[in-house]
Amino acid sequence: MANTEVKHISQPTHGDDRQTLKHIRIQPATTWFPIDFGEIWAFRDLFAILAMRDIKLRYKQTMLGIIWVILQPLVASLIFAVIFGRIAALPSDGKPYLLFIYAGMLPWNLFAGCLQRAGNSLISDAKLITKVYFPRLIIPIASSAAVLLDFAVAFVVMIVLLFVYHDQVSVTWNILALPLLLLVVLLISIGVSLFLSALNVYYRDFMYALPFVIQVWMYASPLVYSASMIPDRWRVIYALNPMAGVIDGFRWALLGTGEFPLLTMSIAVVMGCLFFIVGAYIFQRVESSFADVV
């Protein structure tokens, strides 16, 4: 990507063998330049290989391997179900508390996982950044791709849970909205990840602050409680947290809870786009000096 004009000039060579040479101009960084999607596409193999590397490395030398991916959200959901469902007895929109939590845990873990992995990605790949050129955007996004695999595994567990609880919850056509909802989560997650990973290069504070941010953000989202507990007059402000709308949306799609959360979801889509644009913009602004700083 970067601030380079890429154009093709044709260069006559021997005989009919006409060859086009890529022309690149290297010049000082300017403040704004569009993302060069063509170049990112050209590096798609690198993207795939980096994502595969992250996936392979994650569970190398672990005994349980992929089981961790299942265990993590399941155990967390169980704990929340006991504490908030049984002990605190919070309402769960009439659904089994475990399912209620787990359905929200799906998008939430995707979001939090992206933040955690992408936030550090540029620093852990500092050696690459200082020695080779490629669109830097690939690094944080590839590390999110690995989290997407976790999501897929966790989703399979969700389906199993739906079977187990089939007498209390019935699957509706709402489930067809899931891909769209997933897209919104990715938009939000990647936007925030880009922002975090870029600034982490300059201020390592973000690395330390991240666990707290994730925790606070979690309680600001209707993960362990139902969004219906929020008073109506706070609804719009509450929905400025796009994860609120998304978690509601997931519950609606998977468990068929009430009406489609139109207001909060619309706000979530707008906020998601905003997060993505701001994140990508900040990333672009600072990426040209990554190699000098990291």
Binding site: A2, N3, T4, I9, Q11, P12, L21, K22, H23, I24, R25, I26, Q27, P28, A29, F43, D45, L46, A48, I49, L50, R53, K56, L57, K60, Q61, K127, L128, I129, T130, K131, V132, Y133, F134, V201, Y202, Y203, R204, D205, S288, S289, A291, D292, V293, V294
Partner: protein
């Protein structure tokens, strides 16, 4: 229509050096906030200094040309390569690059110790800009060149360092960019590996690809590149044919003093049994000098102390031309008086070199003391520089420069043969 591969115009790169906040390049928010509160006008107070790593670099490189870049550490060589490889941005100026550029600033970039050889080939290849198809197509060649067939599915953390280097270089060597940028990768690995790398590099440049090559190995760079740019403190000090530029560079990096003194013996750090104190050059009158006339001899003197009985210890020197060709080496053990065992004590060794031996030009001296095949005591490169001049100015040819390294005083004679029958020039 242009056959230019790289055009660089007024390229410059500056870094901000922050004097107050010390060494770390990145900051913490706390530092930033504290700095802002305690010193809100920091930026105008000049606590930051701008350092130009590169300034006003301009050159053109034609397609198919091999360009070497030399210079001391910190002269800006790596910065220049990083800008051309698009890793970092210039501060001023611009560069135009025509063609796919592949840069090799390090051997094994992106290698992950936990992944297998096979996985690392794909990872490293992709990092260097190859597509999966390119890598698959050349996979067998890469493996064969690296000689690691048996270990393809072993994590590279179990590789010996030699295998690791071979694999890493092999991937890089099978890149097929139109422009190849290489930084000092030959400085690693054993002699055999270096030779293999050099051979591959030389193939690449002879295939007509454009090569930009940074190295401290003058012999390698001269072998690969016809043209050399010498960078000095971020600017181009010289740009031209390899030989003259290398010799200019070598002569400048050597010290033109008549003697070098190490009164405390610091020239030999870490060696307790041997200390070098001084080395000097003397002319035929016994005066210290760095310039010697071709017809007169000169001497090299070394003062040193031996603290312990050292069997087979020898001390000597090597004279090199400014372009790095070894002219000769000599050791005190060559002498008929050398007994094979050096007793402790302080010594002065002196070697007289006759006149009419070296051609006019610039030369460099290396010093070496050690026990052959056992221990190196002192090894100093380019410790002194001297030149041989021809001031005799007699004879018709005296002002003409002669080729070659040696210029012996030879005997010429001619006989005039009269009345020789035709066709009988053969001496019987």
């Amino acid at each position: 229509m242009s056959d230019i591969a790289i055009r660089v115009e007024n390229l410059g790169k500056s870094y901000q050096i922050n004097h107050q906040q010390g060494r770390s390049k990145y900051r913490t928010l706390q530092e930033e906030i504290v700095g802002l509160v305690s010193n809100p006008f920091r930026k105008t107070e000049g606590s930051r200094e701008t350092v130009w790593a590169l300034k006003d670099i301009s050159f053109e490189l034609k397609a198919g040309e091999a360009l070497g870049i030399i210079g001391r550490n910190g002269a800006g060589k790596s910065t220049l390569l990083k800008i051309l490889s698009r890793i970092t941005r210039p501060t001023t100026g611009h560069a135009d690059i025509y063609g796919r550029i592949g840069s090799l600033l390090e051997v094994g970039t992106g290698f992950h110790p936990e992944l297998t050889g096979r996985e690392n080939i794909f990872l490293n290849g992709a990092v260097l800009g190859m597509t999966r198809r390119d890598i698959q197509r050349r996979f067998d060649e890469i493996v064969a060149f690296a000689e690691i067939e048996k270990f393809l599915d072993t994590p590279v953390k179990r590789f010996s360092s030699g295998m690791y280097m071979r694999l890493a270089f092999s991937v890089a060597a099978h890149l097929e960019p139109e422009i190849l940028v290489v930084d000092e990768v030959l400085a690693v690995g054993d002699a055999e590996f270096q030779k293999k790398c050099l051979g591959k590099m030389s193939d690449v440049s002879h295939e007509g690809r454009t090569v930009l090559f940074v190295s401290h190995n003058m012999a390698a760079i001269k072998h690969l590149c016809k043209r050399i740019i010498w960078l000095k403190q971020g600017a181009i000090a010289a740009d031209g044919f390899s030989e003259p530029v290398i010799s200019q560079y070598m002569m400048e990096s050597a010290v033109y003093t008549r003697q070098r003194l190490w009164p405390t013996g610091i020239a030999s750090p870490g060696v307790d049994e041997f200390k070098l104190y001084s080395i000097r050059m003397l002319n035929q009158h016994g005066e210290m000098s760095t310039s010697h006339e071709i017809e007169h001899g000169f001497s090299i003197e070394m003062e040193y102390e031996i603290f312990k009985r050292l069997p087979y210890c020898r001390i000597g020197w090597q004279i090199n031309t400014a372009t790095g060709i070894i002219v000769m080496e000599a050791y005190d053990s060559d002498s008929v008086f050398y007994s094979g065992i050096r007793e402790p004590g302080r010594f002065l060794s002196r070697c007289d070199i006759p006149g009419h031996l070296l051609n006019t030009g610039n030369y460099l001296i290396d010093i070496n003391a050690g026990i052959p095949n056992l221990k190196n005591l002192v090894n100093l490169e380019n410790v002194l520089a001297f030149n041989i001049v021809d001031t005799s100015a007699t004879g018709a040819n005296s002002s003409v420069e002669r080729g070659g390294i040696i210029r012996a005083d030879l005997i010429w004679s001619q006989e005039k043969h009269n009345n020789v029958p035709k066709g009988s020039f053969v001496r019987t």
